[in-house]
């Protein structure tokens, strides 16, 4: 009886071990024996190779140095890094994956697949497109600023949060979802490296896995309103000498049945943060006039942006998802993109301003 009980207990124990697929041979992950890297930067190398870089030691307060390799495969790079450094470099804490613009234009499908199939790599890792020589930048800055890699990650994490409304932040999981979905195309943030600056430039549009266009300044901010966060802290419109702030948008997309017209209605709520034009905005009529001018300007810019998307045959706004309905067969991606290219665009903006405070009228 006792033997049976022991057998049962061991049976349960072994089953519990087997169910989650626990390996009988565990890797050494003791934190003082390993070096968990925080970022990989990849760009085009020589002779069709990939140039990979990372910073070591990743966490300990020791003088840092940049490891750079020319490799054929991503994992090969990971392995060769270990041979160059006295601690094993582990990718379980990989937070940033920086891809050079040139490489992104060629397509990053295989790279993404490699990252996705790695158990250790977190799906919350940020993907970033870089213009310029990032390796040089990090090499210079690492000497001046401790833990620069960590602060870059913190910056992206900060803007990833809802209602920050400044930049496009995309992690591996989000990129993968848009990449493998038939009615959407992925986007990634673009950062430019110039001397000692690492500056957000805009949003890169991808056709499948290839970077085809980068939208910047006003277009990028309109994209933030339409798709990303539906919020902008400040929206400067230099043409009209105005800055709108605390801008919240509600977007309604209406697609007609024969896929010939898409109507995008955007309701905006915000307040005038700064105005340096000639209108007296304390006067109701003139304020209304300014409001109309802003709406017209936004409609025009948005129409241009969407037309650009149509020309490029990309759909980062996922308008194609509006073709889906519960009781009909979904159309193919090919049919959708063909229709999307010819579709008429109608954009309506409705702008609501908060009452102006602390002005002469209030006193």
């Amino acid at each position: 009886m006792r033997r049976k009980k022991m057998l049962l207990v061991w049976g349960i124990f072994v089953s519990l071990v087997m169910i989650p697929g626990c390996a009988p041979f565990v890797e050494n992950n003791t934190i003082e024996d390993i070096a968990p890297v925080t970022f990989w930067s990849i760009s085009k190398g020589e002779k069709g190779k990939i140039k990979m870089s990372t910073l070591v030691p990743p966490l300990v307060n020791e003088p840092k140095s940049l490891l750079t390799l020319d490799v054929d495969l991503l994992k090969q790079g990971g392995k060769d890094f270990n041979l160059r450094y006295y601690r094993e470099l582990k990718v379980g804490q990989l937070r940033l994956f920086l891809i050079h613009e040139e490489l992104a234009k060629q397509g990053i499908f295989q790279l993404i697949n490699t990252l996705l199939t790695d158990y250790d790599v977190s799906q919350r890792m940020y993907l970033v497109i870089v213009k310029g020589n990032f390796d040089e930048y990090i090499n210079r800055q690492a000497k001046k600023q401790e833990n620069l890699d960590y602060y870059l990650y913190r910056m992206l994490k900060h803007y990833e949060r809802k209602k920050q409304g400044e930049m496009t932040i995309v992690n591996l999981h989000e990129y993968k979802n848009k990449l493998f979905s038939p009615f959407s195309d992925p986007v990634l943030p673009v950062f430019t490296v110039a001397k000692d600056n690492f500056t957000y430039e805009g949003t890169a549009f991808f056709s499948n896995d290839k970077l085809i266009e980068t939208v910047t300044s006003t277009e990028d901010q309109i994209f933030q309103l339409l798709d990303n966060d539906h919020y902008l802290k400040f929206f400067p419109i230099p043409k009209l000498d105005v800055v709108i702030g605390r801008l919240r948008s509600r977007v309604n997309v209406d697609l007609d049945k024969n896929l010939s017209l898409v109507t995008i209605n955007v309701k905006l709520n915000g307040r005038i943060e700064e105005y340096q034009g000639n209108k007296n905005i304390l006067n109701g009529n003139e304020l209304m006039q300014l409001q109309k001018e802003i709406e017209t300007e936004l409609e025009m810019k948005t129409t241009d942006l969407i037309k650009k998307m149509q020309e490029l045959k990309v759909d980062p706004l996922q308008i194609g998802t509006h073709t889906l309905s519960p009781f009909s067969k979904p159309i193919s991606e090919k049919v959708w993109l063909a229709a999307w290219g010819k579709m008429k665009i109608k954009v309506n903006y409705q702008l609501y301003f908060e009452a102006l405070q602390n002005t002469k009228n209030n006193y």
Partner: protein, 493 residues
């Protein structure tokens, strides 16, 4: 679950037989009481020229009252009826030597009336006891301050004062062939489920052992799972806790010579309840109770989690904390497991040492243990700063559990989890938690499920489980106790 159920020790058939009763005589008594220095055998003559012999143990009787109640009245007795002259109503006539022996050892005086040829027994025990003091094991800031003593009678008095009803029944038993310890079973007739009473009676009467000095020893013979680390009887020295438990439909077992009373049947969750819960405002009491549960979880899993994360799952550690951990562990000679094991063992040694030492010395020990060892271990590079902080948090957390026996169980669980976490990481902790939960689910207290009201599920009892609901809403007694009177208020007929 994994442990074999212990069998209660059955009475030997030889023990069960009643010994032959021998007739009492002075010679036989002297023979029995031979080599006992504290035995006094005195002879006195009454006014009636009648010889009386008094036999007693001077260490057990109240000698002042002996003169006052027995010797003086007997000497002054003018007639042959000595029996009537004794100034106390508790006079018994006995005939057997065994009876005389027993009564002598309980603090009685034997009186031999030579003319009447009878042996009288007058109970005259000396009330050697300490006064009623405040509880040291279950201190509360607000509420009753009295606690039980080693004497049975004052203890029963303290409970009876709180429950002045005739339904509060007391049943006396003797346990221990050498210690002859009195055990009192208390319950409220018509409220406590009779099944519990009969189980308790059976268990107490089946106890067969020589010495009992503490209620935990009685509990050890009464519980169904001898090898479990979890206490199946609540031990308390607080009369208010006893009275409240009786009022809910539990029973209490008082043991002579110990201030700790046993309460049963209990559940795992009763060990997290404090008398203060019913004194504080209910939201405050609920918050404190939740904190108590959380701190129990923390004390058991915090260090194992540290070991699991730093040994197996570096990916799970937030980057900011990883910076700190790598920094603090970079120069250590030990792996996280050995580091944690050594620190926890040292801490247990300090804790145990501080319990055994006088108060003033234990304060010094606290300083040495806390500052010197902690600081020195970090500076010498034996332990990381992070671990020292975690050890402090987990130790302080373990003290939040009101039941002392439970805090001791905490330590063992923690060591078990530590071992599992070093081998299997978080998965090991999860396995350990499953095993503990399965074990708790299989435990019983007086044959009642130990993990109720969760398993079996009694949803109404959740009002006083993780939170302490408003008293006005606690209209019924806990269902899992199956009391005979469900409602706690008087209902219109």
């Amino acid at each position: 679950m994994f442990w074999k159920k212990g069998k209660s020790i059955a009475n030997d058939s030889s023990d069960a037989q009643q010994p032959v009763q021998r007739k009492i005589s002075l010679d036989s008594l002297k023979q029995v009481l031979d080599n006992m220095d504290d035995v006094e055998i005195i002879e006195r003559t009454t006014l009636n020229d009648q010889k009386v012999v008094l036999i007693y143990l001077k260490t057990l009787i109240d000698q002042e009252r002996l003169n006052e109640l027995i010797i003086e009245p007997v000497i002054q007795c003018p007639h042959a009826m000595i029996y009537e002259s004794i100034a106390t109503p508790k006079v018994l006539k006995i005939q057997s030597l065994e009876e005389a022996q027993k009564l002598l050892l309980t603090g009685a005086v034997l009186l031999n009336d030579c003319i009447q040829e009878q042996w009288l027994v007058i109970p005259l025990p000396n009330e050697l006891s300490r006064g009623i003091q405040t509880s040291e094991t279950e201190t509360i800031l607000y509420g009753a301050k009295d606690s039980f003593t080693e004497q049975l009678e004052p203890n029963i008095t303290l409970i009876r004062r709180r429950l002045p009803i005739t339904e509060l029944k007391t049943e006396k038993y003797k346990v221990g062939s050498l210690s002859e310890t009195t055990v009192v079973l208390m319950y409220i007739d018509g409220l406590t489920n009779p099944e519990y009473i009969s189980i308790a009676r059976k268990k107490i009467s089946e106890i067969n052992f020589d010495l009992f000095f503490d209620s935990s020893q009685v509990a050890a013979f009464m519980e169904e799972h001898h090898h479990s680390i979890f206490p199946q009887f609540q031990q308390t020295d607080r009369p208010d806790v006893c009275a409240y438990s009786l009022g809910l439909g539990k029973l209490t077992i008082l043991v002579e010579n110990t201030p700790f009373v046993l309460i049963a049947p209990i559940t795992f969750f009763h060990l997290f309840q404090s008398p203060e819960d019913y004194i504080n405002r209910w939201p405050v009491a609920s918050f404190l109770r939740v904190i108590r549960y959380f701190s129990f979880f923390l004390s058991v899993t915090l260090i194992p989690f540290y070991v699991a994360l730093t040994t197996h799952h570096y990916q799970m550690i937030p980057l900011q904390i990883l910076f700190v951990l790598v920094e603090s562990r970079s120069k250590l000679p030990f792996t996280p497991f050995w580091e944690a094991l050594v620190m926890l063992t040292i801490l247990e040694i300090i804790k145990e040492a501080s319990l055994r030492m006088p108060t003033k010395s234990s304060q010094t020990l606290g300083v040495i243990g806390g500052i010197v060892i902690g600081q020195a271990a970090v500076q010498a590079g034996f332990a990381s700063k992070v671990l020292i902080v975690l050890v402090c948090i987990s130790t302080i957390s373990s003290f939040l559990v009101p039941n002392y026996l439970m805090t001791k169980a905490n330590t063992l669980i923690q060591f078990g989890f530590l071992l599992l976490s070093s081998f299997f990481g978080v998965f090991g902790i999860a396995m350990g938690a499953i095993a503990i939960l399965a074990h708790l689910n299989g435990l019983t207290s007086l044959k009642q499920p130990y993990f109720s009201p969760i398993a079996p599920f009694y949803w109404k009892d959740w009002i006083d489980l993780f939170i302490r609901g408003p008293l006005i809403n606690m209209k019924s007694r806990p269902d899992h106790l199956h009391p005979l009177q469900k409602w706690r208020y008087k209902r219109r007929m």
